[in-house]
């Protein structure tokens, strides 16, 4: 019988319970879908890496022979080592202006012996006697290429047509980015092509040596053990970089995505569940207060307090179960499209959604746990009443003066309704506090989503319009004499300005801390690449010191004046010590800066440049692109506009996910305000009805409740601003990486959006409340016995 009572009670308050159910469901949907998606991603990665032998370490050198590699393989700790030739070549698509690149990677033909095997997805096997390649599927699709077709590329200054023999995927290019400085992959302009070594040699010259080593470790050895042995031995082969698997770009991004997904999957749902639990707690407390007499009656004819508590616990329990079931099953469903979405970013052959009920079960346990906790605390106090006490109406709440009344100007400016509302806030401290926290939480969630939407544009805008103001960047295939390169470029028609730069890969050390980075040498008259200090003032690289980006300084624990030791393959074993001149904030990349001439002096290689920044008339841009696309001295050519367009395209999809979060926050905010309003309304029906009898309109009566909410909302929004800043600070710290830092720049519009969003959900909740007030019968409300 109690079961029927329960069902009818719940149905009577269905809107409030539904709101709570939705909040719990959202939390568990996020929990289940993200965890499942992360699991799918993790499993696909593990399988692919294991099956295709992801290397434990990588070394880039200028050139090394097969015999030397065999010798290095004998080093303790090295299980397997292979050499390969990796070379980026330009693709010439007829009629296309933007540049595209193909990374040629040599692969062995007998798949069994290899580390980092390539999964052959479609087409014909590779042939050591034909200039054919396997290409990654995304590049083919993005450029509308097909197996059997040809790709025109420039190798060693020659135009060569590579036959597309098939499609393949390597575990090293799950997330194919050309450099770590890129923000995201662009399959239209960058792809990977796998080809046999003989083919590579026939294209690039028979004398070309291996320039990359990949190796796997013996089980008992760590990467550091082997690194210390390899590093000195590789120096004479022109060691450029030596890094472990975790620093490999594609792997790094994949792992970062995995850990941030897992973090979101475990933190976000807790917030929603906590809000859901608070709503349940308040609802249950109210229903128990309301049914005090009924509890007394049940006790009078012999129901025990445990039976009654069990009865009231079953309210949150069914909401928890229903919310858990709804949320986790919809999460299970959602994990399929989400996994599919990841397929577009991470090219893992076995990445697919799967049905597993582990997380559904966890989600159910979580929601039931939260619900019962809320239920226990909500029902605990009422259960302590003796039956006789329960039969009596509760002692009326004391009417008391509150502290705020001392602020005369404030107090006297309030209407009677305002005074009632304000006193009420303090009467129901706990509920006021929950409402306050609820609104603050939702406001901040909306503001955070607004911030993220904003900040990426800010970062890009900052980078593109202030830091790097060139139209085209040309990266040279090999360092060139600075002045002659500059002069040649300057002679092009339509060129307005040319600045050459020297970018030198180096390891910076401070004590035991070290970091691989690129030192960028800028001219003293540099205008196309600008550095700004904390206060937005331009700074120029000094003669005899380094400028560090703030992340780099943090990683090295360097301050202004700290002496940094500099190692570079270009120094051939020598080291140089330089002081830190200043530290500047930088959102993207982890770089060090020097005066170009000073850097040249340090490297003792003459006046060299590795790249040039160009500003030209708009009409001249296609001509310059055309001219240099095929030049042998040019490695790559970056068009700023192209980068910007790609970025905006990607933002469109990213922005969508961000706004989903804002919608969740909106729903949660509505649920909090709505369910708490319903409780307040039920509690004060008689009071409000009496005011109606006195002649107040429904509008005036509802003002008492709405004024209360606006007062709380105002306080919550004010508190929400620093809370948002704190949250973003925490998130920036958690999410910041070598690739970018989230700047703590707060545009007022994210707060304005959050304010409008908050006001909207409050108004919506109040509108539903007003309709309820209009509906209730005065006579009934006055007759009702509390």
């Amino acid at each position: 019988m109690l079961w029927r009572k329960l069902m009818r009670d719940v149905l009577e308050n269905k809107a409030a319970y539904l709101a709570c159910l939705v909040v719990i469901s959202i939390g568990l949907m996020v929990y289940t879908s993200l965890n499942l998606t992360a699991d799918n991603l993790w499993q696909a990665k593990e399988n692919f890496y294991r099956e295709y032998g992801f290397p434990d370490g990588f070394a880039t050198v200028q050139g090394i022979s097969d015999a030397e590699i065999r010798r290095l393989t004998a080093l303790p700790g090295v299980a397997r080592m292979e050499g390969r030739i990796v070379q980026d070549v330009r693709v010439i698509f007829p009629g296309r202006e933007e540049s595209a690149f193909l990374r040629l990677v040599t692969v062995g033909l007998s798949q069994e012996t290899q580390i980092s095997k390539v999964k052959h997805l479609a087409g014909l096997p590779l042939d050591p006697h034909r200039p054919g390649v396997w290409v990654d599927s995304q590049f083919l699709a993005a450029n509308e290429l097909e197996i059997g077709g040809e790709i025109p590329v420039i190798i060693g200054g020659r135009k060569v047509f590579l036959e597309i023999r098939g499609q393949a995927q390597s575990p090293e290019y799950v997330y194919p980015m050309r450099t770590a400085q890129d923000l995201f992959p662009d399959p239209r302009s960058f792809g990977i092509a796998y080809l046999p070594l003989p083919v590579m040699r026939s294209l690039a010259g028979e004398s070309v040596q291996f320039n990359q080593l990949i190796f796997q470790l013996e089980p008992a050895f760590s990467y550091q053990d082997v690194e210390s042995l390899l590093e000195p031995r590789l120096e004479r082969f022109g060691l450029v970089a030596l890094y472990p698997a975790k620093d490999q770009v594609s792997n790094f991004i994949l792992n970062q995505e995995l850990s941030s997904t897992e973090a979101t999957a475990n933190v976000m749902p807790l917030l929603f569940l906590a809000v859901g639990a608070v709503i349940l707690y308040i609802l249950l407390k109210r229903i128990i207060e309301q049914q005090r007499g009924q509890i007394g009656t049940l006790r009078s004819f012999g129901y025990g307090s445990r039976e009654i508590q069990a009865h009231y616990l079953s309210y949150p329990l069914i909401i928890g179960l229903a919310g858990g079931l709804l949320g986790s099953l919809s999460g299970l469903w959602l994990s399929f499209p989400m996994t599919a979405m990841y397929q577009a970013f991470f090219h893992l052959p076995e990445l697919r959604g799967r049905v597993t009920f582990d997380y559904v079960l966890f989600a159910l346990l979580l929601s039931v746990g939260f619900a019962l906790l809320a239920g226990y605390f909500g029902s605990r106090q009422a259960m302590r009443l003796s039956p006789a006490e329960a039969m009596r109406p509760p002692a009326p709440l004391s009417g008391r003066h509150i502290q705020l009344e001392r602020w005369n100007w404030f107090w006297h400016s309030l209407t009677v309704q305002g005074k009632m509302a304000t006193r009420n806030l303090f009467r129901h401290r706990q509920r006021s506090l929950f409402t306050f926290v609820g609104i603050m939480f939702c406001f901040s969630m909306i503001a955070v989503t607004g911030y993220f939407n904003n900040i990426i544009s800010v970062m890009i805008f900052e980078q593109m319009t202030k830091v790097q103001t060139h139209d085209i960047k040309i990266n040279f295939a090999a360092p060139l004499a600075a002045e002659s390169a500059r002069r040649e470029l300057l002679n092009l028609p339509g060129i307005k300005r040319v600045e050459v730069m020297l970018e030198a890969p180096a390891t910076l050390k401070h004590g035991w801390r070290e970091r691989d980075t690129v030192i960028i040498g800028l001219g003293r008259d540099a205008e196309l690449f600008n550095l700004f200090d904390q206060d937005g003032r331009r700074v120029l690289p000094p003669e005899g010191g380094l400028i560090l980006s703030s992340q780099l300084a943090e990683a090295l624990e360097a301050k202004e004046g700290t002496i940094i030791t500099l190692e570079s393959a270009l120094l051939r074993g020598d080291t140089v010590s330089l002081p830190v001149h200043s530290i500047i904030p930088q959102y993207m990349g982890i770089n060090a800066y020097m005066d170009k001439d000073a850097l040249n002096r340090v490297l003792r290689q003459g006046e060299l440049a590795t790249s040039a920044l160009l500003v030209a008339e708009e009409e001249a841009l296609p001509l310059i692109t055309e001219k240099y696309r095929e030049a042998s001295q040019v490695a790559t050519l970056e068009n700023r506009q192209q980068l910007l367009d790609n970025f905006n395209e990607m933002m469109a999809t990213y922005g969508f996910t961000v706004w989903i979060l804002a919608v969740f926050a909106f729903i949660t905010g509505f649920a909090v305000i709505y369910s708490f309003s319903i409780v307040a309304l039920a509690e004060r029906k008689r009071e409000l009805a009496s005011l109606r009898v006195l002649g107040m309109t429904t509008g005036e009566v509802s003002q008492i409740l709405t004024f209360e909410q606006w007062l709380l909302a105002l306080a919550a929004i004010l508190a929400g601003i620093p809370f948002t800043i704190y949250l973003i600070g925490q998130m920036a710290q958690a999410m910041g990486s070598d690739l970018f830092t989230l700047p703590l720049i707060f545009e007022p519009n994210s707060f304005i959006i959050a304010f409008v969003g908050t006001a909207c959900f409050i108004l919506l909740a109040q509108w539903t409340l007003l309709r309820q007030i209009q509906r209730f019968s005065l006579v009934e409300a006055l007759k009702e016995r509390d």
Partner: protein, 246 residues
Amino acid sequence: MTRGSWERKGETVEVILTGRKLCKWYQLGEVRVQALRDVDIEIFQGELVVVLGPSGSGKSTLLNMLGGMDKVSSGELFYRQQPLHGMNEKGLTRYRREAVGFIFQFYNLMPNLTAWENVHLSTEIAAKPLSAKEVLIDVGLGERLEHFPAQLSGGEQQRVAVARAVAKNPEFLLCDEPTGALDFETGIQVLKLLRKFSREHKRTVVLITHNAGIADMADRVFYMRDGRLDRTRNNENPLAPEEVSW
């Protein structure tokens, strides 16, 4: 020391409730409110007792003590041989479940259960219940089984409440102003039901009221004043419920 039985009108009747020096006080902040003072009381099997007194005289408190709804502050209270004073909550719950049937002034029905469901709610937990449906037919509500309280008149609601208490088949009924919210005619009908239960099942009914007219149908009348049992009156010839008036 309790006495298990008593000689009355040549018949041996059992004593079912015995109270000695029953006291109850409530602490309200710094004020101690004395609700019962040294009440000695004995209630027999099968009698109809009316407890009479103005409001605030302690009748409801006494009823709560007798029904195991609240604990005495001092004194001794026995149900047959079992001490109710000092009994823990679990014991009191069992006592209420097995021995007592309550009827309240404002019926206290579950608003979202039908008449039959309300009665069934109490028979579910009773050891030897009567049929919920039959008892409802007995109180004249055979046609109203599926009605919710809000669809019933006050008299009908109180009859559901009587049915709910009776259907548990308790040792005795405790009625707190059972006619207080009813008109005269309806009140008489409820009293007739209580009388019938008492006579037919030889069960005790304790009825508290401030309506002196009802006292005429009692076997014994307790007069309460200021938390004390002022005096007791034996009614040699109790009136039938239809004969009383107020």
